[in-house]
């Protein structure tokens, strides 16, 4: 899923302080699972904003809506009838949702209410960790299913570096060495011979380096 983290309320207050009517817009997908932008977080943020502005003597109407998704036209269309009632929207979907809102509702200011962090997993409740950087050209088949692009701090394709200590990365004892994990997996799979195959220079043009990306599937287009 796309993992996001809450923005400080102060930052959101700063964004909307000059508005009269604000919609706090949540998303039922990834950000709900990572407890940053679902219906509950919409309620908490809206309540906090209402109390803050009331206490400041400012009359700002703050409403709450949570959509099924903010990355699909059909769900964003659900607020078309009401969008003109708002001076601004605080979207607490990921950056994708914020942008798709901005594209669709061209004249309404849309502010981000979360920081979009990475593609990751719920390791345990309240702990989300990165697994993928969407490089656009997956190499997991050769690395025992563990991704050095997203999980090695130096994204070494031929690791580990000389800083791997006791299974941990040189940047922090809190971070697993991706290459230790890869070696452990290759051993478990009886594939250690693969370790000595040199990963060639990677084509990063499918990564962010190649500019904005798209997947264009004519076979499924109407």
């Amino acid at each position: 899923m796309i993992v996001a983290d809450k923005k400080p309320i102060e930052e959101i207050i700063e964004q909307v302080k000059d508005k009269k009517t604000v919609l706090v817009l949540g998303c039922n997908e990834c950000v709900t699972v990572c407890e940053a932008g679902g219906k509950k977080e919409v309620g908490i943020l809206a309540s906090a904003l209402r109390m803050y502005f009331l206490n400041q003597g400012q009359e700002i109407k703050i409403d709450e809506v949570t959509l099924e998704r903010q990355c699909d036209h059909e769900y964003l269309e659900e607020i078309r009838d009401v969008i003109d009632r708002y001076d601004a929207v605080v979207s607490i979907a990921c950056g994708v949702g914020v942008q798709f809102m901005a594209e669709k509702y061209h004249s309404t200011p849309i502010f981000p209410g979360v920081n979009t962090c990475f593609l990751g997993v719920t390791e345990e409740r309240g702990l989300w960790t990165e697994r993928c950087q969407a490089c656009g050209s997956c190499i997991l088949a050769t690395t025992g299913g563990i991704c050095p692009v997203s999980r090695c701090a130096k994204r070494l394709l031929n690791g580990p570096c000389g800083g791997s200590t006791g299974g941990k990365c040189e940047i922090s004892k809190e971070v697993d060495c991706a290459w230790q994990l890869i070696v452990d997996r290759l051993k478990a799979l009886d594939k250690m011979d693969d370790f000595e195959t040199i990963a060639p220079v990677k084509d990063w043009s499918t990564d962010r380096a190649g500019g904005p990306r798209k997947v264009n599937r004519e076979d499924v287009q109407p």
């Binding site: 701090a153 130096k154 994204r155 070494l156 394709l157 031929n158 690791g159 580990p160 570096c161 000389g162 800083g163 791997s164 200590t165 006791g166 299974g167 040189e170 940047i171 060495c177 230790q180 070696v183 452990d184 250690m192 370790f195 000595e196 040199i198 990963a199 060639p200 220079v201 990063w204």
Partner: protein, 310 residues
């Protein structure tokens, strides 16, 4: 003697001499004297001098400019180059720049992570890794081509080196990783600072079992300890460093004013022992901000005078 480059370091190693290299860290400023002064101290006692490349990710004068300073003094530089800060355009371009000054040795590294240095908020590059940089230099030199496939006019002639850390984890891939670097085209390696001699010997034995010592020149990395505090710091704080307790204790049990001498003594003893190990082709003495001690170490270890090669 089948030499591949005009490198003096390569000539010395190929002739079967134990090579001695050392390193100078460039200054955090533009004063060239810092480099030339350090080089003056050690130039008669070493065969080549590494110039570090923004080590520990702290911004310094660039390695290439400092190498050129050494060249102007008639010395033999080893250009250290990390993949952290340069994409493949910059790497190839800097290699050509170095070649334009007839710098004939390069050490291919990934580099310490950015978070250790003075620009922890910066973006790191890591377009290639050290393994791929080795391949790239060899490709440029041997094929005379850029990574993009075009011909290089006057290709670089560089003796290609890399680092090897026998002490990092997981230990079982440390020799396979050396083999991998050899397959990538590395011709000499300089190891991480060696304090745990037993473990180094074990690593060397495993390397010899695969005949790797005949495919690459292994220069043992040595760093003298200035005091017990440094030993403790290296043991506890530097990733991938293996400092045995006995060594820390030996320094700690020495009176404070004698600890520096003891550190030098430990270093010399280590060199004496490692000289006898089959496959050790020389020494890389990294006397961090203590370059004036290099001549003493080299002499006491019986590595002086240095062979004269033209």
């Amino acid at each position: 003697m089948n030499l591949k480059t005009p490198s003096k370091l390569e000539k010395i190693l190929a002739a079967g001499h134990l090579a001695v290299t050392s390193e100078c860290g460039p200054p955090r400023g533009s004063d060239p004297e810092v480099i030339t002064r350090k080089a003056e101290m050690i130039k008669d006692h070493v065969d080549a001098i590494n110039i570090t490349d923004n080590q520990t990710s702290v911004t310094r004068m660039c390695s290439l400019a400092a190498c050129i300073r050494l060249k102007l003094m008639g010395l033999e530089p080893v250009l250290q180059m990390v993949t952290r800060d340069r994409n493949r355009i910059a790497l190839q371009s800097d290699i050509l720049g170095a070649a334009a000054f007839d710098i004939h040795n390069i050490l291919c590294l990934s580099g310490d992570h950015l978070s250790f240095g003075d620009c922890a908020q910066g973006q790191n590059v890591h377009d290639l890794d050290s393994m791929q940089l080795i391949q790239t230099v060899r490709h440029m030199r041997d094929e005379g081509k850029f990574l993009g496939g075009d011909d290089i006019k006057r290709p670089p002639q560089m003796f290609v080196g890399a680092a090897a850390n026998p002490f990092a984890d997981p230990f079982e891939i440390r020799v396979p990783r050396l083999a991998k670097k050899i397959a990538a085209g590395v011709e000499f390696v300089q190891t991480q600072c060696i304090y745990n001699l037993d473990k180094f010997e074990e690593w060397m034995k495993l390397a010899r079992d695969r005949g790797l010592h005949e495919k690459v020149y292994i220069l043992a990395g040595m760093t003298p300890m200035k005091n017990a505090g440094m030993a403790r710091y290296m043991k506890n704080r530097v990733p991938g460093m293996d400092v045995p307790d006995e060594l820390v204790k030996r320094l700690a049990d020495t009176p404070k004013e004698k600890q520096a001498d003891e550190g030098i003594k430990i270093c010399i003893e280590a060199i004496q022992r490692l000289k006898e190990i089959e496959g050790v082709a020389g020494f890389h003495i990294m006397a961090i901000e203590w370059e004036q001690k290099v001549p003493e170490i080299v002499e006491a270890a019986g590595l002086y005078p240095r062979p004269q090669i033209d």
